[in-house]
């Protein structure tokens, strides 16, 4: 139950699954550590088995949302329903697929009292994978050459057209596979086209060390509180399982130029590959916090707390200087869930976890 003057923040992306976790639970953990019990956290998910929805330490209550594919009106109706019950002050979306819808709904959500701090739909479109090379060029940042194709015939003799294997085959929205030859490229093309449609993107493969930068754009072109991380261990899907904080002014400057070119507003993750020449090649820009965002709390730059203060028009908390050399290492853990809690979430689409707190 909401107490007087208690801030209520709703967070999506509570699917903290091992091979490809959403960022929601890490964002909730950052906010809980910054605000303690003076904040009420409402976890929002799409599946009753999303682990974060059942973590009582970080979620005071949990609700299921309609899938983004159901459309903007359905999502707004569901968020309004949840707002009526929870009195949400700020909404922090953490999943790529829902960002365009929620960014479009931001003005309507503000009208009913739900604040957010998000990029515009146009800003979102400019950092999409198919437009990334143009953005990188405009910002003066290196980016592997990328081609949009509509047919797998491209891979027949592509080396003679200047596109030798191995190549990276990517969906416009999601999925990336390395193809060592034509057969693998054909399979990748068909799988990605079937799930995400055409065009499919073909990108020159860059080898090197993968580094990521997270920060918050203030909407006028400034990047606030950048935190950089190098992956030290990855899952089978290439997601960070362990990483270490780094600080490189060259990477920070690249990120500042990209954020300035976009006038980005809200959380951002910039994924780069440091190639054999030491050049940072832009691989992807994600319009949300990454799953490793708890590292920002670990280095004294709690970015979710920074975002919340911006969303509330408050003075952001002071940030510690960059602190390279701090590791994170993930681990798998079981959460025990009473059947009644799971049942309520399944049947009613909501679960009041605070009543179960010891």
């Amino acid at each position: 139950m909401k107490r007087d003057n208690q801030l209520t923040v709703a967070i999506t992306g509570m699917n903290a699954v091992p091979d490809n976790p959403g960022a929601g639970l890490a964002v909730a953990r950052c906010l809980r550590e910054a605000y303690g019990e003076s904040i009420r956290i409402v976890g929002l998910g799409y599946d009753a088995l999303d682990p974060g929805l059942h973590r009582r330490e970080y979620c005071d209550s949990a609700h299921l949302l309609s899938y983004p594919g159901s459309g903007s009106d359905t999502l707004f109706a569901r968020l309004s329903e949840i707002h009526d019950a929870e009195h949400i002050d700020v909404l922090i979306p953490c999943l790529d697929a829902e960002l365009p819808l929620i960014a479009g709904l931001a003005p309507k959500l503000a009208e009913i009292g739900v604040r957010s701090y998000l990029p515009s739909t146009e800003q979102l479109a400019r950092r999409a994978k198919d437009r990334l090379p143009d953005l990188a060029h405009a910002a003066g940042v290196a980016c592997p050459e990328t081609l949009a194709i509509t047919h797998a015939d491209f891979f027949r003799g592509c080396d003679k057209k200047g596109w030798p294997f191995p190549l990276v085959v990517k969906g416009v929205f999601y999925d990336a596979r390395i193809a060592a030859g034509r057969e693998e490229a054909d399979i990748a093309f068909r799988a990605i086209a079937a799930e995400w449609g055409v065009p499919v993107l073909v990108q020159r493969r860059i080898t090197g060390e993968e580094c990521n930068l997270a920060g918050v754009g203030d909407g006028t072109g400034a990047l606030l509180g950048e935190v950089m991380m190098k992956k030290r261990a990855i899952t089978g899907r290439g997601k960070a399982w362990a990483g270490i904080s780094i600080h490189d002014e060259v990477l920070a400057e690249n990120a500042r130029r990209l954020v300035a070119a976009l006038k980005w507003k809200g959380p951002i993750e910039i994924e780069v590959m440091r190639d054999s020449q030491g050049t940072y090649q832009l691989i992807e820009i994600n319009p949300r916090f990454p799953a490793w965002i708890y590292l920002s709390q670990g280095v004294g730059r709690n970015l979710p707390a920074l975002l919340l203060s911006l969303a509330l028009d408050e003075t952001p908390p002071p940030l510690a200087p960059p602190r390279p050399g701090m590791l994170f290492i993930r681990y798998a853990q079981e959460t025990i869930v009473p059947l009644s809690s799971f049942e309520t979430l399944m049947v009613e689409g909501r679960s009041a976890l605070e009543s179960e707190k010891p």
Partner: protein, 93 residues
Amino acid sequence: MDNNQKQGQSVDLPKADVLTRLALSDSGFVFDPVTGNSFTVNGSGLAILRRLQQQGTDLAAAVAFLCEEFDVEAMAAERDVIEFANLLRNAFK
């Protein structure tokens, strides 16, 4: 002859600013805060790295320092320094 040319071969070290930024621990653990890479070195490697950080990248001076510090012959020290310099260069490509 250039101080960084030994036994007829050129010995390149990583740039001075790269060596300077390394965090060195007494245990021999070395961390590069820019790349996030870490590795370990033995006692003589640590001594050479500290010397290079403090006194600059003059390999002849590093050899002389190693001879004095570890009581080894100049030829052996020179061979070790060259090998170590090659390892460092590969580590910071």
